[in-house]
């Protein structure tokens, strides 16, 4: 782990003089890490650079870039964070021209923790670490294989624990709508807990994540009730891949299916009558 940390430090030091700042993780008081903008004026702060835990870097990037649209920045990002930034670029939330991506590859333990199929970067100019193969997702497989009655029971029990903290939406890199449908009284009743069955909040969120979720799993990590809602997002992502041949964040110049008129080929794969 320390070799990777040193390599990352070297990569950041190399990029530091050319940019206004490098966004990476800094160890704070009591050893708790948080995103921080390292600047060339204080390179000694890089002593406190850390690798883990994964933080929602794309969201932070957006905050800085909105306030300083002409800034040149570099980000240390893992595979999922890079996909998050690319997908945000496709939705006109960031400008990739002034961004340098430093790709941090995940190791086996980290990939298994996130049940990640693609723990490596594809667009980053600088690479730190060795890319490894993705791992399987046993939780999603297990839930997908359940019978209809079992699924109903499982999700009813899970969603009963939701306290509507809106953490999953706040931390998602793809949730940037100024007016969020989940705050509308018509769809999500205020003051009602536990959630009704079916849970409007989670199913509406799953639909809005179609062709946008980059499988970073920040939502599951911040959920106080440990609800595995990313399972829904991953199953939908599988359908989007099958029907529209689209994977969020993968190919830079592929437009998301929401923006495109349906081609004949896409139409036949949706299973709808002609």
């Amino acid at each position: 782990m320390s070799d990777r940390l040193n390599a990352l430090r070297q990569a950041v030091l190399q990029v530091l003089p050319e940019v206004d700042g490098v966004l990476a993780l800094k160890r704070g008081p009591a050893g708790i890490a948080a995103p921080y903008l390292f600047t060339k004026e204080k390179p000694e702060e890089l002593e406190q650079l850390v690798l883990w835990p994964k933080e929602p870097v794309p969201d932070t990037a957006k905050i800085i870039l909105k306030a300083h649209p002409d800034a040149k920045l570099a980000f240390v990002c893992r595979g999922c964070e890079e996909r998050g930034i690319v997908e945000m670029f496709k939705h006109a939330q960031v400008n990739l021209d002034r961004l340098t991506l430093i790709g941090l590859q995940c190791v086996q333990e980290e990939a298994e923790f996130c049940r990640c199929a693609k723990p490596y970067t594809v667009h980053a100019q600088t690479i730190v670490g060795q890319p490894i193969k993705g791992v399987s997702d046993p939780l999603t497989e297990k839930i997908a294989a359940m019978s209809q009655a079992e699924k109903l029971e499982f999700w009813k029990k899970e969603f009963e624990h939701c306290i509507k903290c809106y953490g999953c939406r706040n931390i998602c890199p793809q949730c940037f709508c100024n007016i969020c449908a989940l705050e509308d009284e018509i769809w999500v009743q205020t003051g009602r807990l536990p959630m009704p069955n079916p849970s409007m909040y989670h199913l509406v969120r799953a639909m809005h994540m179609t062709a946008k979720c980059v499988a970073c799993r920040e939502c599951e990590e911040t959920c106080p009730a440990d609800i595995p809602m990313a399972v829904h997002f991953r199953l939908i992502a599988r359908d989007v891949q099958e029907m529209f041949n689209y994977e969020p964040g993968a190919v830079l110049d592929q437009k998301p299916p929401q923006l495109l008129v349906l081609e004949e080929g896409d139409y036949t794969r949706t299973g709808l009558p002609h």
């Binding site: 997908a144 769809w187 079916p198 939908i236 989007v240 349906l262 139409y267």
Partner: protein, 139 residues
């Protein structure tokens, strides 16, 4: 005395230009079809967001139909493309959440297809009648 037989409650979202006029055609030709579908007229099937379908289920609808114009015939040219992209994903999501995907029905009915309209209503009502009432599923 027997309890009244289960009559499914179905919400039908029909687009103003094709499927709603198809329903009119069926009515003018005095075609018979079951009365279980409550029709809501919308300007285009593309107006039907997943929130509307999910809210219908939450309010106790046993089935939801979305009928639009044929691809290529939409009055707003690409409105039904949105339906065609959105609704299959929603059907799959219902399945992943443990709800029978057959409860959501999507089809294209043009203004002249009165016969098709009555057949579609008849078949869907029978499909929903064979499933348990939605409120039972949600207990």
């Amino acid at each position: 005395m027997d309890a009244p037989a289960y009559e499914p409650k179905i919400i039908g979202f029909l687009c103003n230009w094709c499927s709603y006029r198809g329903a009119d055609t069926a009515g003018m030709a005095r075609m018979k079809y079951p009365p279980n579908v409550k029709i809501i007229r919308v300007p285009c099937s593309g107006r039907i967001s997943p929130e509307l379908v999910l809210r219908s289920f939450r309010e106790g609808a046993d089935g939801v139909m979305v009928l639009g114009c044929h691809i290529g015939d939409c009055h707003y040219s690409t409105g039904n493309h949105r339906t065609a992209k959105r609704m299959p994903i929603l059907k799959n999501l219902l399945e992943y959440a443990g709800i029978e995907p057959e409860r959501l029905y999507i089809n294209w009915v043009s203004a002249a297809e009165g016969e098709k309209f009555s057949v579609v209503i008849k078949e869907f009502t029978e499909t929903i009648r064979a499933l348990p009432p939605f409120v039972e599923v949600m207990k």
